[in-house]
């Protein structure tokens, strides 16, 4: 996907340029405030950069594990350790995507069409059916925001968004972040509530591009654009770390941005 560059005047300051990716990084970093340990997939550069930014803001007092990475992963008990660690309550936040995501926060990582002969087959459920239950703050992240992805009901529930009250489930969905907006998940109502719309997008567009029904405040706020301070942090501090952890992403993101590869 390609993402736009915005130029937004900030309260009382001169206009600054930011990229859509930077907005997402800043937004997700906000959601990680107070988190002690966040795990991120190796091929999740935006959540990964957000985690690094949140770690930076926490003065380093946050652990970031990059799964599947040879280097940024401090596990020493094999591939199962992530899951055991989550079950021990030692992972506060995690990211999940979805080939399909529905309005009850169910996610489908298996395929489209009737299982098992999926018309479109995705890789599989990975650890979703487990981590979604055990990690308190699961952020669903999918840049593509279309009726193809955000469906009324997923064709296959890799991991359910909600469970009966009496189930053991310390974890679950916290938010759904897309290229157009932010939804927060309302655990009481078991459905999403639109929290903010990214600059350049509209509520009408989001209704049209979302296959599921969701709640919305009367006046929908705009997603806060990254502050100059945040952009400086991303470009001058995080960029170096990002480049080492997600080189391809960093090359794409910081190409031509001054100081970006710091």
């Amino acid at each position: 996907m390609s993402m736009s560059v915005g130029s937004t005047p900030q309260d009382g300051s001169t206009a600054i340029d930011w990229r859509a990716e930077e907005l997402l990084v800043a937004t997700i970093a906000d959601m990680l405030e107070g988190v002690r340990h966040v795990a991120v997939g190796a091929s999740s550069p935006i959540p990964g950069a957000a985690a690094l930014l949140a770690q930076q803001r926490a003065g380093g007092r946050m652990r970031v594990s990059v799964l599947g990475s040879e280097r940024d992963n401090f596990f020493t008990d094999g591939a199962r350790e992530l899951f055991d660690c989550a079950a021990q309550g030692r992972i506060d936040a995690f990211f999940l995507g979805g080939g399909q995501i529905d309005g009850a926060a169910n996610i489908n990582l298996v395929g489209i069409g009737a299982y098992p002969r999926s018309r479109v087959r995705f890789p599989g459920s990975f650890g979703s059916a487990y981590l979604y239950f055990l990690v308190p703050r699961v952020i669903l992240f999918r840049v593509e925001h279309s009726p193809r992805v955000l469906v009324p009901r997923v064709d296959f529930v890799s991991a359910p968004g909600t469970s009966p009250e009496h189930y053991y489930r310390p974890g679950g969905p916290y938010a759904l972040v897309t290229g157009r907006c932010i939804f927060l998940f309302d655990k009481e109502r078991r459905r999403f509530r639109l929290a903010s719309v990214h600059p350049g997008h509209t509520l009408a567009e989001i209704r049209e591009q979302t296959g599921f029904d969701f709640d919305s405040p009367e006046a929908v706020p705009q997603t806060a654009v990254p502050t100059r301070k945040t952009l400086d942090e991303i470009r001058h501090v995080i960029a170096t770390k990002i480049a080492r952890t997600y080189p391809a992403f960093a090359a794409h993101l910081f190409d031509g941005v001054p100081g970006g590869t710091g």
């Binding site: 190796a42 890789p123 599989g124 459920s125 990975f126 650890g127 053991y168």
Partner: protein, 290 residues
């Protein structure tokens, strides 16, 4: 740091000579130990993949494998499926990561020629741990309400016998996974057949759980891997190793931690070529032989 140095330099070698030799074989001999219909456990692309042995398996035309990804599988799975070696696929995912959808897997799913046992990572780990502990099952949190559970008649749900709550506390039970064969690649083995896997400990669980463990390695060392605690801590004892084949670059085109990176251009080319059955056949002709 004197104490520190002492701490990691144990030095004294094992006293009892366990001279039992683990057979050292060619990669084709190793592959010949995998019978048709075997439940074969293999690691993901980020761990130690015995790609040379997988090519040997395809050459020998192994059939009807029950392939288990521990907990997921990558190029090994796509190639074995493309070559018609796999009857059943039990895995949390078959993924080629950044290289995109796995062409032969996706095609086999559409054709319905593959029996799918879709799973989730911790279930496969727990199943192997059950086999490691010699227990018939393992309980696990989560998974409830997933369609995975609907599709798997071998997963059970019971009311937690230790629940502290008034209401039911459903918990999933999973059967042990005891592979007929575990197959993987590692950097080093010693002459006694001990295999060094470092922090890639899922390989150790596989070896503990499986009836037969086949290992390809980059090279032998003449040292005793169990003599130095630094190495012993990441070593699978020979007791669990059935046979070893030396295969330099044996994980190619996938990478091997600490040794070499993935051959990205080759993997990208595989994904493109294997988009069609004919293209995959050409790839096999060129790189697998047989």
């Amino acid at each position: 740091m004197v104490t520190a140095a002492r701490a990691v330099a144990r030095g004294a070698s094992g006293m009892i000579q366990n001279e039992t030799q683990v057979p050292v074989e060619t990669i084709d001999e190793l592959a010949a130990r995998v019978p048709d219909g075997a439940q074969l456990a293999v690691p993901p692309d980020y761990s130690g993949c015995a790609m040379a042995a997988v090519r040997a398996l395809i050459r020998r035309g192994v059939k009807a494998l029950h392939l288990v990804g521990v907990p997921q599988v990558g190029f090994q799975g796509d190639m074995l499926i493309g070559a018609g070696c796999v009857a059943t696929l039990e895995t949390a995912a078959l993924t080629l990561g950044e290289y995109g959808p796995a062409p032969r897997f996706v095609s086999a799913v559409k054709s319905g020629h593959l029996r799918l046992k879709d799973s989730t990572c911790p279930v496969i780990h727990a199943g192997l741990q059950a086999a490691e502990k010699g227990v018939p099952f393992m309980p696990l949190r989560g998974v409830l309400g997933s369609d995975l559970l609907e599709q798997r008649d071998d997963w059970r749900v019971i009311d937690n016998p230790y629940r502290m709550t008034k209401e039911q506390d459903p918990i999933v039970l999973l059967p042990a996974i005891r592979p007929d064969v575990a197959l993987f690649h590692a950097a080093l083995a010693d002459r006694q057949g001990n295999v060094w896997i470092g922090v890639r400990r899922e390989l150790m669980v596989m070896a503990h759980a499986a009836r037969t463990t086949l290992v390809s390695i980059e090279a032998f060392t003449d040292d005793d891997l169990l003599a130095d605690d630094r190495l012993a801590a990441g070593t699978i004892p020979a007791l669990y190793v059935t046979a070893i084949a030396e295969a330099e670059n044996g994980a190619w085109p996938v990478g091997l931690r600490g040794c070499y990176a993935a051959d990205r251009s080759h993997l990208q080319r595989y994904v493109e070529v294997a988009a069609t059955a004919a293209g995959f056949a050409r790839y096999v002709d060129e790189y697998v032989g047989g």
